[in-house]
């Protein structure tokens, strides 16, 4: 009986891999464009921003929270970096103008994301607002700030050095893929091999037990949201560099894709259960699906319907598996 169960468990563990493999196989058979190096790199390049957001989202959801503001934080981080790079800093009331280097702009973008995420964490831990509400507020605040900063117009032509981060290659692999892969690797180590990672699982699994075991729950949550903000910042830089433009509507409704990737990857929205690698698979599934539907010339309206159905099916299958092994 145990071995039978183990087989099922193994299958369950690889159910997203299986789903992805089936999709790849089907698309390879149905179109001749899908299974090419160019298209594969294209899929990877397209999922990078979502991957960065989703890795942060996974950590937040594992801690028992949620972050609806990732798309807006992405936009503001990208816009601040682009604006500084393009226009420099003019000290108000003077004619003093400071030029900002590419690395300065990158740091500023990351800093913006980090501070916004930290603010989310502060509101959640200090004022005890539910994460849903706190980050819903930030969703609007950061979007509004982006509009104010850009005046509602895109900031474009940011230069080749900055653009390399978005469209350059190293050994044939696009830069965004390198960057998000590094982020994934760091996050996997963080979640499996450090105290913080272990603490996040414990807080998401049972906050009271975690607190009674001496974990500083508020500090852990604050760190988690801050980290989520930083990763939104990374995503913002990637998107901006790739398009060579920071648009005020960048990242609009990206939070939904990112939550979808986390959920398809098998992470429980109740926290405490899930993995970074699951989310990577979730991102790949969404990316392949998007790409495949375009190649198959499915209308964009139907694409949305199909994507929604895939999310429902993925979670339903996961739930059924959980119920079976639970009883």
């Amino acid at each position: 009986m145990t071995s039978h169960r183990n087989v099922l468990d193994q299958l369950k563990r690889f159910q997203s891999v299986l789903a992805l493999a089936l999709m790849v196989l089907a698309l390879a058979l149905m179109t001749d464009k899908f299974f090419t190096v160019d298209n594969s790199l294209n899929v990877l390049r397209q999922i990078c921003a979502n991957l960065c957001l989703s890795v942060g989202m996974t950590i937040i959801i594992l801690s028992g929270g949620i972050d609806l503001s990732v798309g807006s934080m992405l936009a503001l981080s990208g816009a601040v970096a682009a604006g500084l790079l393009k226009n420099g800093v003019v000290i108000p009331g003077t004619d003093v103008f400071i030029e900002v280097t590419v690395s300065g702009a990158i740091l500023a973008g990351l800093l913006v994301g980090t501070v916004l995420g930290w603010f989310n964490g502060l509101v959640i831990t200090r004022f005890k607002l539910p994460p849903f509400v706190a980050t819903l507020g930030m969703l609007s605040i950061a979007r509004g700030l982006t509009m104010l900063w850009t005046g509602g117009f895109p900031i474009t032509r940011l230069g080749d050095t900055f653009g390399f981060m978005g469209s350059g290659d190293v050994v044939g692999i696009p830069m965004p893929v390198w960057i998000s892969a590094a982020l994934v690797a760091l996050s996997v180590v963080l979640m499996t091999r450090t105290r913080l990672g272990r603490n996040v699982y414990a807080v998401g699994g049972n906050e009271r037990a975690a607190r009674l075991s001496g974990l500083n729950v508020n500090r852990i949550k604050l760190l988690v949201y801050t980290l989520g903000g930083t990763m939104s910042g990374v995503a913002g830089l990637l998107v901006t560099a790739r398009l060579d433009s920071a648009t005020p509507t960048a990242g609009l409704s990206y939070e939904l894709d990112s939550i979808a990737a986390v959920v398809i990857g098998g992470t429980s929205l109740n926290g405490g259960r899930g993995t970074i690698m699951g989310t990577v698979l979730g991102c790949l599934i969404i990316g392949v699906l998007n790409n495949g539907l375009v190649l198959l010339e499915v209308s964009p309206f139907w694409q949305q319907v199909i994507k929604g159905l895939v999310i429902l099916i993925a979670v339903a299958v996961d739930k059924m598996g959980a119920r079976k092994s639970g009883s």
Binding site: R195, N199, Y201, A202, G205, A209, A210, L212, G272
Partner: protein, 514 residues
Amino acid sequence: MTSSAQPPDDALLEATDITKSFPGVRALDGVHLTVRRGRLNALLGENGAGKSTLMNILAGVFPPDAGTVRLAGKPVRFQNTREAQAAGIAIIFQELNLVPELSIAENIFIGREPLNRFGLVDFERMNADTAALLQELELDVDPRTWVSQLKVGAQQVVEIARAMSFNARVIIMDEPTSAITEHEIEVLFRQIKRLKQNGVGLIYITHKLDELPVIADDLTVFRDGKFVGAKPFKEVTRDEVIRMMVGRELADLFPKSPPQVGDVVLRVRNIYLKHPERENDFAVRDVSFEVRRGEVLGVFGLMGAGRTELLQTIFGLHPGTSTGEVEIAGKRVSIQSPQDAIAAKLALAPEDRKAEGVVLELSVAHNTTLACLSKIERFGFLQPQLEHALVGGYVSRLRVRTPSIHQAIVNLSGGNQQKVVLAKWLATEPEVLLLDEPTRGIDIHAKKEIYALIDGLARSGLGVVMVSSELPEILGVADRIMVLCEGRKTAEFSRAEATEERVVKAALPGGMNH
């Protein structure tokens, strides 16, 4: 075993061969229970005997794996509590099941409110019907009163009124007297008598054998999920009942080595804790005590006596609302959070294991190291081999039965989960162990192991404070016994002085003055 006799026609409810398993435990193994019209069947058994499981099956909370339930001769199988209710089975849980922010009438008719011709709730009729019920039950309060304003005893009467309002034929009561005063108990017993006269059959779950002569007509005993026997109450003696409940294991259930008491390791002075809801009232009031190395201090009290709150306060869970001094190994410590408590070498195994003790999603290993991750960390990274060694050591020392240390703890039995909780705390190398109901909801064999563990830990030099609501456990395990009542310390006995009667008397409100 008398229950196998042919069912007499006055049998209202008959449960036969009921079996139910949960992951890791067989909670019920072919048990029987018969309730007759106008009679009260006292269901007895230690914690973990399966009483609550059977009750939940009868009330439709979950179905049995096997066995039949007959109601007035007809087999029934409830899918949910609503069906059980409709069939006339009412259950009064120990933790009362009322909505505090609704009125008495709204609670009684919740989910089946009478409607007027506009399809809106007919409050007039609801309140009038409730008033009639309350009058019958001699509870003199307005039906519009919020339930949160009633005392526990009165809330129980509301539950009985609810049961009566849907003409329940069978009423199940789970330890109804564990949290109410003597006077309220008298009122309850009068209600029970009245229900019996009206032909209602009752199942009454209790630990208190002294109550039985007043109310019981039949008794049924379970042990470890198995049926032990059922008899008319008149035909058994008290000793026989105890033997049926505990079996032969009573004598060696509590392995007790002679205490080798050392210095005072925990001294607690003038602990006060504000009541969470009532202003100018205290949940813990001026409690002082000390524990020596090698000693087990038992803390006994009824529900609401402040036992759990006392431990929580010492452990730093109520920093803003409590005052008092704590000294550990002679050193004054300020404990404002569990982190402070752990740093001061305190450990607390909480009462509600699933809600506060373990993280169900995590493995045995990850639960064990949760409070001491710094020990398995090198250069900022957790070291699996250090973790395996540490966890493996505790798993074998505490005899945790698990296929692997990577097993999710949710798949372990309650007793083994509790051992993991103990392992987690021992891994922090504490000086004082605070245990809140350490054997709640675990089977008798695991209990015995836990008792042996507590004994062994005390012998190794720890100070142990054990809160328990089970008298035999307190009397069997503790070297000294402190009794709490309504937040106050009312008595302290040495092991030799303590008897069941003395401890209970000190625990009852008003008991001090009589």
